[in-house]
Symmetry: C2
Subunit: 222 residues, 2 copies
């Protein structure tokens, strides 16, 4: 029987691998939107089952480790955190899929606005995702904190996209459906940021034993 | 030391209690929207921390039971399911809170459409929520299956709300922001339905050992 630490390392690797798939899905879905690239959007949609299978595999691995190793204290918290992070990653995959679907519905529509805020939001949430996973595997609470700080910036960018699109719609009702699609894309990116924030909160809890969920504002001003 | 079965019963009770808070939040937020009742919306927002505290309490209870009881097989699956369900309930609470916020922003705006589909969606997702929690505490996979079947109906209602609002916006751009608020309310209700579906899938997995996540369509046609 292998050592528990090796099994935990395997779990970390799988979570990172899943994080990689999910990060790629975000990247591709946003590129599909910006470059009106149908193939890329379809790749994201086609690859979603991979992410879903990976979620079930990781769930199975954690449940097996809980049963076989009967961990306590930190190891137990680590495994329950892994379950949550796995769930957050799968939902991020879902959101990237939604963006890919919106990009398909926008495919034959001229772009309603110059695309600057949406790629900015996308690269911000991608970097949040990479950081929170790094923070998890390296038990780095400071890095996790930086993710918590980015959440407000994502919200600001989303507000900017929203009010700009509203103005465009008011001037030209013919772009309504396309503009609403873009509002949903911004909302999906914001929610990806929320999931990265959830993961970062789990990491802080794991490392410091402080539950920062539901009062992130205190954390941010600390 | 108390028996494990008593502790599991306590966990069930807490999850039901949390489910009750969350169901009340949905009910109130939608009534606040329909009746333009500011007090009710503010109650939902004021009570959200209760739901968040309850989530942390249930997480703590499950982690303690995992550590102290070192459960295996079905008991272990039950506890990991409880963690997920707890998380879904907290997110439903968040979504009810979003609806309450939208209802505040719609407070002084004349209703943009006769409100029939949104209350229909609300009562459907409320009943899905009650059923999936019932199914969980009674290990009733058949009841959980009925929840999976309702998900498509929620999506249909959401599509109806969406296309009706789009028409209204095209006729009268002055209602744009109000109509977009309502599109988001419908989207929030749809997501509440998705979370109830997640819970129902966890119950089927728990009772039958079959993972119906990510291929619910097969389940539905079975």
């Amino acid at each position: 029987m292998r050592h528990f630490t090796i099994e935990l390392e395997e779990l970390n690797q799988k979570l990172l691998q899943m994080g990689g798939l999910v990060e790629q899905a975000i990247h591709r879905s946003v590129r599909a939107l910006l470059e009106q690239d149908r193939d890329l959007a379809e790749e994201v949609i086609r690859d979603e089952p991979k992410i879903n299978r990976m979620e079930m595999e990781i769930d199975g691995l954690v449940t097996r480790l809980l049963a076989l190793r009967q961990p306590v204290a930190r190891d137990l918290r680590l495994l329950t955190a892994a379950l949550k992070i796995n769930n957050d990653l799968e939902r991020i995959g879902d959101l990237a899929n939604h963006i890919a679907e919106r990009s398909l519905s926008l495919m034959h529509h001229p772009l309603v606005k110059p695309m600057t805020d949406i790629p900015k939001m996308a690269s911000l949430v991608q970097s949040m995702l990479l950081k929170c996973l790094d923070a998890f595997v390296n038990s780095d609470a400071d890095l996790a904190h930086t993710v918590l700080l980015s959440d407000a910036e994502v919200d600001l960018l989303r507000d900017g996209v929203y009010s700009e699109l509203l103005e465009i719609m008011q001037r030209d009702p013919s772009v309504l459906t396309a503009a609403i699609d873009l509002i949903f894309v911004a909302r999906n990116l914001e929610r990806i940021g929320d999931h990265a924030t959830n993961i970062a909160e789990d990491v802080v809890f794991l490392v410091k034993g402080i539950d920062v969920r539901h009062h992130a504002e205190q954390t941010e001003s600390a």
